[in-house]
Each structure stands twice: as structure tokens, then as C-alpha cells.
Symmetry: C4
Subunit: 263 residues, 4 copies
């Protein structure tokens, strides 16, 4: 595998230093990164060494390692890159350990959306909902947790009666082959803050690690609920749903950076 | 948003100092408050920054912050108000953090019922049961956990064969718009100690934080069980249920304060 | 409520000092007792202050308190009785706290069976299976976890192809009213090591706290599995099941004390 | 029971000292062994004293004890054997405690496949899937977690579109009677890295403890998912599945030792 420092999207990734600190708690640290891995494992998102997280913290980009048990990684197991210098700051001592194969997807999403964090889960609900819904989008409306989702175009949270739309793409033999489908999602669904990969899992991105984690929890809840609704033939989208805005011409990044989702 | 100290119901909230200490363990502390947030997160009640708690401790009212990850809040993140002086005793240093939007619901419920604690959960069972039951009340009888529910009119726990009734109200775009529907519940269902909000969650209130937490757990269990019963077409209410009392003229607060539910 | 030290069965409870120590780990301690309460809460057995445990340790009988949150009780909250002297050794300082209303059931079961431990759970599976099975016994065969159940008549574990039979009794308004139905179970089902109470929960007893806890976990697993089997119309009892022994004349206590179940 | 040091397969077990260290984290330790037991209990794999693990660490073979509560075992409760000397290095002080009855299955699997670790779980999904699938194999394809499974013949991970095949054998009254059926699996399904035992549980083996644990988690996820798929009549194997290789003549052990599975 090519070194991640040579990844095309990582090379073009720049920090917008004009933006003030938007973290509620503070920038990601290596200690917090590893604690979140434990929490995500306990939530069922990262079993069997699956799942990944990428997070910008100051001038550094932290990405989880591949193939290691996520609930057991320690600070020195996290890959760290300098965004300005495009150098590798830290990597595990064991040379067999590679950076997450999602790394190239994270750099694409971060570059295109201005997101500071991407969380990739292998939750069973994310997988199973894509088997119940044959089409290429998951949609749900009139749910309180929809208010936990950020709209990058308005810079505000979605409303209760809005329709949350999450594109579904087909899985590919390798993560790197998801690059073009995800690029397609970013182009065709500029309001998306997440994508489902059929028979695989979920990617969620947002302006901060806090908002990305919160949105991932909101979406996971909605997916679990939607599975129960599907089983009982309860429609996911109710009447009176969100009329999608047509004014999508504004620079997405600026918008995405302008607010934080909250419930 | 108007400052909570100017909230009409908070302004009218008075402590009945004639009542002796009714806590089994002792008054709520900030340390216990944050530990309970972790526990409620683990129970699935407060994922994605959702859910909230308000609790009177001595002369202070503690309320959880909005939008923060509930399992991560620390003592300094809790909003604390002086009930006698109607002042803000403590708030998070980060000025972007607001008090829970449920705060105005908590003050209403506390003022009207004399409750010292209100817990608001986003448990999936509380949400899903409101999609299975189309009407405006959830009712269940002949369940041991009904004995964990306090009847504010008798001052005692409900009996096994009683019918527990929890009103269901429709969700609204914002929490503050739930104020009038909840006021309606308190007027029309004076025996209620909880209300379900469709596609949203659950509010439970009681004389102490201990009894409120216990009742919330009992109700959550009954909701999960009721979902399984509904799926199998097992009636929730059995014959021989509780004849509701008609003598509701007594002052609810006095009654609510006179005992603690137990299982 | 009458003091437990005056309970008829407790008064007749005697320690068989001729029996050697049968604990795998060692006698129950107050510290272990409270840690097990936390574990049982986490397993979903003791939510909402429900559930209880009674355990003989040396010459003392320890019983959990009523109405307190089981995951939060501390060593001083456990009721301790001297079995020889028939005195109360310890009780919570708060005089409003009573011993578990199951205490009178525990003393009956211990006296009649020679068990040293009784665990009472409120697990949802124990409740729901009694709604799926209308009759008065739960039966399952050909399951590995049946080997975790102790047969007090043979002094050995059941076999894989044996039929485990757990009587089901109807719930009553108060725990004390379960005394006669449980007495009936002990007389009519002398091989029983557990009883289900409809819409309520489960009681399990055994020669040591270790074996009782293990059997409770095995039964809880079997109940959860049986619910899934019932939903899919898979028979719980397969052909080739256990022929119940007719030779039940031996002294049950001696037998119950003669071995420890294992998986 | 015969002493395990006299077990035929253990006697023939030899360490291939020419193989370099393949552990990602390092060899198994007694401390890690007991911590993993707690984790496996929490995952629902080792309730009611069920489940077991055997693991080679350097020149030692560690095996969990029988009948003890798996989440409570301590370092001194683990049985340790010297592989070169064929001696017992450590055993619990309590002579009533025996080594896991799976020990003879572990030595067989290790000898035949060169695996360094075998994990035996009692997860409900492993049990229930064998009741839904009447045949003698569990098969699933087109799932991301299939990439977490190691193919001992190619020395690489399976591909997304491969069909994972896990043989199902019938349960027997005692673990030792599973010896011949498992021997049959190893002969007839040389690519297998796991076997399901009907109404009982799952055995998984692999080149290291890390890869075995990861594969067990991947399989457990796939089994839980498959149960949901079966309930909704979604086929487990999709078109375009793996054409099984016919070239199985190479020495399995060498191959199994040549790589580590990763997701």
C-alpha cells in the first residue's frame, strides 16, 4: 500500500486557521481517542477489529490502525500525521501494523466537506437496515433524534419533521474501492453527513469529534428503531416531511464549519 | 432563549421546608448527578446527547446541560440554581452551552406536583411503544413492576393488579412547545407520574431522585415488555384491573410528598 | 411487618455443621454480596430496586434490603442474622429500610431444601416466558446449559438430553402470599431448583452461592433462548427426553447438599 | 478423568520453534487470560460457568478451569502445562477443580491445525442459528466481516464475496464425545476455522490468540446477523459466491501459520 502521506486528498488537505475553536470539550487527544475506541467497541460498533476513526486535532490528523482489536489499542498504536508538513508523526512500533484502510476515505471526506472527524462503524443495525431497504437511500422523518443531525447547508440542526436522508452505496471488495462511490455521494448528496455501505457499515462526518460522535449515536438509534418499524410495517417517512432546499450553491465547507448539531 | 431564572414556573417554585428528609441515600450531589448520567447513558436512555435530568437538592435545583454528551459531563457542566434567591449558582464556563431545553418542563412539573426530580429519557422502548399504540394512553396491568410505581393520591405504591396509565402526547418541534401539552397531562391525569412523548421519549417525576430513578427503571422495563407483548398480540391490560378512584380533590402535592414507592 | 427473626421457618433453620465446606471460592462476604448486586443489576435482573438475594455464610444469613436500588447498596445496607442465636446482627441505619419481602420465602426454601442461597431475579425473559407458556411448568430438553443444573436427588448435574422442569406459579399481590404456592412447589416438585412466578420473575436455590448463581445464569440463558424458539414455533422439548425418577423418598436435604452443579 | 498430561493429542503436540513471533500484542499472559474471560462473559459467551479457552504461549499451554465462574477466575485458577516436558506447571489449589472438559478438544485442534488458540463460546446466537439451520453447515457470503476470517490454505483473509462455511455437528452428552465429530470436521473441512455444535455453542481456532479472538467476534456478529436475516427470509448466501478451491493438498499447518487475519 502506498504511504498515506502520499495520498492525493491528504496532500490537498489544509487547515482553515481562521476558524475559531469549535470543540465543546477541547481538541482530540490520543488518550481520548483510545478511550473512545473502547466505548465504540462496547456499543457494538467496532467488534472483530472492525470500524475506524479519523480526527483532526490542531495541525494533526489521527487515524486508528488496521486489524488491531479496537478496544485494546493504546496511544502509541494510533497513526498521527502532520497536516501542514505532510509527514508521519507517529506510528506503531510493529511495522506489520498498517493505518486503517479507511484512511483514504477519511482524507477525501475531510477535504471535500471540511469535516474534522469521520467515524466508521460496523454496527449490526447499519448493516441490517441495508438488507431491509433495497433502494439507494435510507430516509426517516418525524423523530426527535433527527434534531441531533446537522445540516451543513443551513449550519443548523435538522428539525423534528425533516426527512433525514442517508445514501446507501454497495460494498466493494476493498475499502479503497469505496473511494469513487463516496465521492459520488459527496457530489450528489451535498447535505449528507453520513453514508451507509450495504452489508458493511456506516460512515459519519462532522465539524468536530463531539458532533460527529453525537450524530453517529443519533443515527445508530434511528437505524435500530427503523429496523423495528420495518418489521412491523410502520412507514419510516411520515406526511408533512421536509421539502429539500434547492439552494445548494453555497460553499459547503464554510457552512459545515459554521455550527454544531445538538439535541 | 430567556434566562431560566426568569422562567415563570421556576419563579413560583417554593421549597416546602416542613417536609422531613425523604431521601433513602441522601440529597443529590453534583458527583452523583454526573455518575447517574453515565448510568443512564449505559442504559440507552441518553445516547447522542439526548435526555436530561432536573433535581432539587436542599435549596438548589440542578439541571443537566443541553447538547453535551451526557456520559461525559463533569460536575462543573451542571447548571445549578438557588430556589429561594432565584439566582444561577453555577453554569459551564463555555458560554455556548445552554441549560437543557427541558428545564422549563421540569420547573412546571415540579411546581405542579411537588416532585423533587424529573428524568427525561430517550430510550428506544419509550419511542417505539408510542408507534405501536395509536391512542393517547399506555396502559398495563398485572405486572410485578407496577408495584414500583407511586400513586401520588394514595401516597402508596400501586398494586400488582392495578392498571398503570401513562398519557401519550404528540411530539412538537421544540421542547418548549411541550409545555402546554404537559400542563394538560398534569391537569387531566393528576395521578400520572410519567408522560410519553410520541417518537421522542419519556418523562418521569417523583418525590425524590431515588424514587424517580426507580420508577423510570420500572417503566422502562414495562415498556420493553409491552413491546414484546404487542408483537405477540398479548393484551397489556388483563381483567380485574384497577377501578380508578374518583376522589381526586385533595391537594396533589401534599399527597405526592407523603411516601416513597418501593418494589 | 413482623420481625424476620420471628419468622417460623427462620426459627427452625439449623446449620448442618457436619457438612464440609462446599464453596469453590469461599463463603459469601458482605463485599462480595454487594458486588453481586451490581452484576445482577447489569444483567437486567434487579432493575428498579427489584430482585433479592439471601445467602448463608457460616452461621449467618445475609438478605438484601427492600426498596433500595440494588446496584447501589453498600455493605451496611445488607441485613445479617445469626442463625444459631436467631438474632439480627446488622441492619441499615435508616429505620425505614426493611428487609426484602422475599425473606420469608428464602427461609422457607432454605429450611425445606437445605439450600444455602436463593436468588430472586426480575429478568424480562423470566417474566415473558410465563406469558408465552400458559401452563404451570416450563420444560426444555436437549440443551447444553441443562448440564449446568443440579439435580438434588442424584446429587449430580442433569444430562444434556434431560428435561429441565421449572414450575410456574401465579403471582400474588404481596411476596408473603407466595409462601404457600412455593411450599406447594417444594412438596410436589421436590427435584425443582427454581420456580417461575408469572408476570413477575424467577427464584433459584442451590447448595452454595456459586452453584446458585451459575444455575440462575444457565436458566436465564435457557429462558431467553426458549422465547426465541417459541417465536419460531420450535419445540422446547425434543424426543428422547428424561424419564423422571419415581424414587423420591430419600431425604431431599441430604441429597441437595451432596454435590455442586457444573457445566 | 485421566490427567490431561496423558492426553494422546497433547502428547504429540510440538512447538514449531522455527516460526517467528506472530502476535500483534505479544504472547498470552495469565493476567490477560483472566481479563479476556471477563470480556467474554460480558459478551454473553461464558455465562453460567460455560465456555472455555486454550492458548499456547511460548512453551506453555494455558487452559481455563471447568465449572468455575469464568468472569471470576484468577491467575492461579488457570491450568498451565509445559508442552515440551508434558508436565502440569500450575493448577488451582482446590483439588475438586478440574481442567475444562474441552481440553481434549483443544489439544486435538491444536495438533491437527497448528493453531495456537481455541475459543469455545456459549453465545445464544451460536446456539439458536443451529436450530434455524437444519443442515450440517452454516454458510454466509457477501458480508464485510467475512474479511475478518482467515483461510488456512491461502494464508490470507477471505474476500467480501467469499462464502464462509462453518460445519455444524450434533451435540453429545459429554465434551469428550465431541472428539470424533471434531476430528471429522478437521478432515473433511480442512479450510474450517470454526465449528458449531448444535444446541451448544461454537469453537474457533487460529494462529494467534489475537486472530482467534477477532475471528470469534466476526463470527458471532455474522451469526447474530444471520438469525435476523433468517427471520426475514433473506438468503444468507448471495449469487457470485466463492468457488471453493480444490487444491487442498498442501500441509495445512504450514499454511495456517503463515499469516494473520485482519479486517
Amino acid at each position: 500500500m502506498t504511504e498515506f502521506v502520499n495520498d492525493a486528498n491528504f496532500k490537498e488537505l489544509v487547515m482553515d486557521t481562521s476558524i475559531e475553536n469549535r470543540n465543546d470539550e477541547g481538541p482530540m487527544t490520543l488518550e481520548n481517542f483510545t478511550k473512545l475506541m473502547v466505548q465504540f467497541y462496547d456499543l457494538g460498533w467496532m467488534r472483530g477489529s472492525g470500524g475506524a476513526m479519523g480526527c483532526i486535532s490542531g495541525n494533526e490528523l489521527m487515524i486508528s490502525p488496521s486489524a488491531l482489536q479496537k478496544e485494546r489499542i493504546e496511544k502509541q498504536d494510533v497513526f498521527v500525521y502532520d497536516i501542514s508538513q505532510k509527514t508521519e508523526v507517529q506510528r506503531p512500533a510493529n511495522k506489520r501494523i498498517a493505518v486503517s484502510s479507511c484512511s483514504v476515505l477519511f482524507s477525501l471526506i475531510m477535504k471535500e466537506t471540511g469535516s474534522e472527524c469521520v467515524i466508521h462503524t460496523h454496527s449490526k443495525s447499519a448493516n441490517f437496515i441495508t438488507q431491509l431497504i433495497k433502494g439507494d437511500t435510507f430516509e426517516i422523518s418525524h423523530q426527535e433524534y433527527i434534531k441531533g443531525i446537522y445540516d451543513p447547508f443551513s449550519g443548523k440542526a435538522l428539525k423534528y419533521s425533516d426527512t433525514l436522508t442517508i445514501p446507501i452505496i454497495e460494498n466493494m471488495p476493498s475499502e479503497s474501492q469505496l473511494l469513487e462511490p463516496i465521492r459520488g455521494v459527496l457530489e450528489n448528496h451535498p447535505q449528507a453527513i453520513a453514508v451507509l455501505v450495504r452489508n458493511h457499515g456506516l460512515f459519519v462526518w462532522g465539524p468536530t469529534w463531539e458532533s460527529t460522535k453525537i450524530m453517529t449515536e443519533c443515527i445508530d438509534y434511528l437505524l435500530e428503531l427503523a429496523i423495528e418499524m420495518e418489521k412491523m410495517s410502520i412507514p419510516l417517512v411520515k406526511e408533512g416531511g421536509f421539502e429539500k432546499e434547492d439552494n445548494l450553491s453555497e460553499k459547503m465547507r464554510t457552512l459545515l464549519f459554521s455550527g454544531v448539531a445538538s439535541v
